[in-house]
């Protein structure tokens, strides 16, 4: 409220009718709205005409491009002029005339290009272009019809060259104009590949060295392999396979080249007494050699180490086998002694006792000596034996308490009880066999 009052006061001062101003504003707003609503309609109307309209639009837009082209073309024509001169300068150029013609044609074409604005480069033409060259030449290019095939190709190459810049322009602008429905239909326009076969071949023919069966091999020394090397390579990441394929290709070429050169009488093999500077100097070769030697020594050392390791493993086995053998030998000798003893004792019973006793003593001594020897050998682990004794005496490991007290099993065990003895009375033994004589006892012991 306060604001309106202020406004009216201001208006009164300035002498302007506030209401009128407000009305004007409203009118403007409504008109704007109408315009907004109306616009899509008009656009829809335009759509069918769009393709026709595209041309003038392109013309408008392409003004800048035209300037660029002119610059390019200028430089191109300069190049061609220089090319003309150079071509003439080249000695014995077989395609001199050709290049001359080309230069003229190009010049003519450039003139034509400059005179008529190149705005005719249309979307349709460009989309069709990737399919390939010849079709594109059919498209309406007023003067292209008259001109020869080559000129057309050249023109085409030119139009293709200007592709990248143009594409971006037209694409963007078209996208803005299109409605949503049409945008959906639109395939995203990608940059066309440039691969102008005619121009490439023309360039090739311009520079190509003479080749063929009539040309001596020694002039160019180039060999093309009989089949593509890529076929032999299954996986390009596989180094060995790849290098092998390259090697095979080079070897084929070398063999073929050698045969041809020798046929032509060109010296091929370097004689042994021909010394000259090499690509790799002696220092470098020395390094290579040193590296090779180092590699070899490393390999040798590794082999040696492996051998040692294997030997060590094998050595252990040998040791075990030896120990077993020793034990076996010992057992055998003991057995032998025992049998000897038995025989001796049997025969000794028949012969004099004394001898037998002597012999026995000798044998016993022998055995004892062996035992002593063993003990001597055992002395090495003397402390361990002592320890063992001590452990058994004072205890080591496990519980020592209640070891001798009865438990359920031992209490129920009647192993040591005999009813006979109990009935016979305390300590009284039944009839016992009288003790045999000493000799007999000994004999019995020997038999056992």
């Amino acid at each position: 409220m306060a604001k309106s009052r202020l406004l009216s006061a201001l208006a009164a001062e300035k002498g302007v009718d506030v209401k009128k101003v407000l009305q004007k504003r409203k009118q403007k707003e409504t008109s704007r709205r109408k315009r907004r609503e109306g616009l899509p309609d008009t656009r829809n109307l335009k759509k069918p005409q769009q393709k026709k309209k595209a041309q003038p639009e392109a013309e408008l837009e392409s003004d800048d491009d035209d300037e660029d082209w002119e610059e390019e073309e200028d430089s191109d024509s300069d190049n061609d002029m220089s090319g003309l001169i150079d071509d003439e300068a080249e000695e014995g150029d077989s395609d001199e005339e050709e290049s001359d013609e080309e230069g003229k044609l190009d010049l003519a074409k450039f003139e034509h290009d400059e005179s008529s604005s190149e705005s005719e480069v249309e979307m349709e033409a460009k989309i069709e272009r990737p399919k390939k060259g010849r079709q594109a030449t059919d498209l309406p290019k007023p003067k292209a019809d008259k001109s020869q095939l080559r000129k057309a190709a050249a023109a085409q190459s030119d139009s293709e060259d200007s592709d990248p810049e143009e594409d971006s322009d037209i694409d963007l602008e078209d996208l803005e104009d299109l409605s949503d429905a049409e945008r959906e239909d639109l395939v995203p326009h990608t940059r066309t590949t440039i691969n102008n076969h005619t121009a490439l071949l023309a360039a090739l023919s311009r520079i190509a060295l003479p080749q063929g069966p009539s040309v001596p091999f020694a002039t160019h020394q180039s060999v093309v392999s009989s089949k593509p090397t890529a076929e032999a390579i299954e996986d390009i990441q596989d180094d060995l396979q790849r290098e092998l394929a390259f090697y095979a290709q080079a070897l084929e070429a070398a063999k073929l080249g050698r045969a041809k050169l020798l046929k032509e009488g060109v010296p091929f093999t370097r004689p042994n007494d021909y010394f000259a500077e090499m690509v790799k100097n002696d220092g470098q070769m020395e390094k290579v050699k040193a590296r090779l030697v180092e590699e070899a020594t490393n390999k040798k050392a590794a082999a040696e180490a492996r051998k040692q390791r294997d030997l060590k493993k094998f050595g252990k086995q040998v040791q075990v086998a030896k120990e077993q053998e020793r034990a076996k030998a010992k057992r055998e000798t003991l057995e032998k002694i025992k049998t000897l003893k038995r025989k001796r004792s049997e025969s000794g019973a028949a012969a004099g006792e004394r001898e037998a006793i002597d012999f026995d003593v000798a044998v016993e001594d022998e055995i004892k000596g062996a035992d002593k020897k063993r003990a001597g050998a055992g002395k090495r682990d003397g402390p361990a034996a002592k320890r063992h004794k001590k452990d058994s005496k004072f205890g080591f490991g496990g519980k020592k308490r209640h070891a001798k007290s009865n438990d359920a099993v031992s209490a129920g065990d009647l192993g040591g009880f005999s009813v006979k003895r109990m009935k016979a009375g305390g300590g009284g033994k039944g009839k016992t066999t009288p003790r045999l004589g000493k000799n007999k006892r000994k004999a019995a012991a020997g038999k056992r």
């Binding site: 150079d86 076969h197 360039a203 392999s225 690509v279």
Partner: protein, 308 residues
């Protein structure tokens, strides 16, 4: 006497020239140079290649990367009709330009997997300036752009007959192979070894035939010399360092793009993480678990409310 000698020598000279007269003489000179900003490996590769090309002229680094057409004038000054130009970008990417000077064509290629001769430690070696046998893959004959590239290789790497510093014997092969859309270049020494005897009679027959031809009883082995590299063709221009583009390789992805993709993927990971973190904070706030976030509306059935 002198006149007689002159006339005689003229006659013999004509005889000697006669076979070469019908055909164009292969006369090539190559200007080898690099742009500024090449790394040492690029430089070494350039030296390796230059040492194998006696028909080349090595020049100082070229200053500009945008005004390459100046190279034409430079080549003209040195009387060269080929230019072999290393363009280094960002101190890591190497582009190779091969051009016929006065009026094209020009090929631009991306050089990858570069190993110089010194790095490779191969045992092969060859005479400096001996003429190589150029071995091309059969694929080179299939497409026009490959044909053009082959021709350019032939002019640049092939040492013309009778080049000034060339040696009279042939002892190495240069192999160009198209595989995986790229051109792989290898360099081998030809070493001749005694032929290993296999089956008697056939060998004898063939050896007799060969001895008639003047071949010795030797077999050929190849030993690699180096360098190794891989070229990806990018464009072919009609002119020399200029003119319309007549071929463009769509399969080629620029190393810059590769790097940027890598960077983006890395950045993408971080962004995803950051977003998730933010989401969690918001979610916690919504649940009223954060002191600073909006308080959860008091629930009527909350224990605090019920037993208030």
């Amino acid at each position: 006497m002198a006149a007689v000698y002159k006339s005689l020598s003229k006659a013999t000279g004509q005889k000697g020239d006669a076979p070469a007269e019908g055909i164009k003489r292969n006369k090539q000179r190559v200007l080898i140079l690099s742009s500024r900003g090449v790394t040492f490996r690029h430089r070494h590769l350039l030296n390796d290649l230059a040492s194998m090309m006696p028909h080349s002229k090595k020049d100082a680094k070229f200053d500009s990367k945008s005004k390459l057409y100046q190279l034409c004038e430079l080549a003209d000054l040195y009387n060269c009709n080929n230019v072999f130009f290393f363009e280094a970008r960002k101190g890591k990417d190497l582009y190779v330009w091969l051009s016929k000077v006065p009026n094209g064509p020009t090929v631009k290629m991306h050089l990858q997997n570069l190993h110089t001769t010194e790095e490779l430690h191969f045992t092969g070696n060859c005479l400096k300036g001996s003429r190589p046998i150029l071995s091309f893959d059969a694929t080179f004959e299939t497409q026009p752009h490959l044909k053009v590239i082959k021709e350019l290789f032939l002019h640049t790497f092939g040492v013309p007959q009778g080049a000034r510093k060339s040696k009279p014997f042939i002892d190495h092969v240069m192999a160009f192979t198209v595989a995986d859309g790229k051109i792989w270049v290898r360099n081998y020494q030809i070493s001749e070894v005694e032929k290993t005897e296999k089956a008697g009679e056939e060998e004898e027959k063939s050896s007799k035939a060969k001895s008639k031809l003047g071949l010795k009883d030797t077999d050929i082995n190849l030993v690699e010399i180096g360098p190794r590299f891989v070229l990806t063709p990018i464009i072919i221009q009609e002119g020399s360092f200029g003119g319309p583009i007549i071929y463009e390789n769509r399969q080629f992805v620029s190393p810059n793009q590769v790097r940027s993709e890598l960077r983006k993927s890395k950045a993408g990971r971080h962004n995803a993480r950051a977003e998730k973190q933010l989401e969690r904070v918001v979610k916690k706030g919504d649940l009223g678990l954060r002191s600073s976030g909006p308080r959860k509306a008091p629930d009527a059935l909350d224990t605090k409310q019920v037993f208030a």
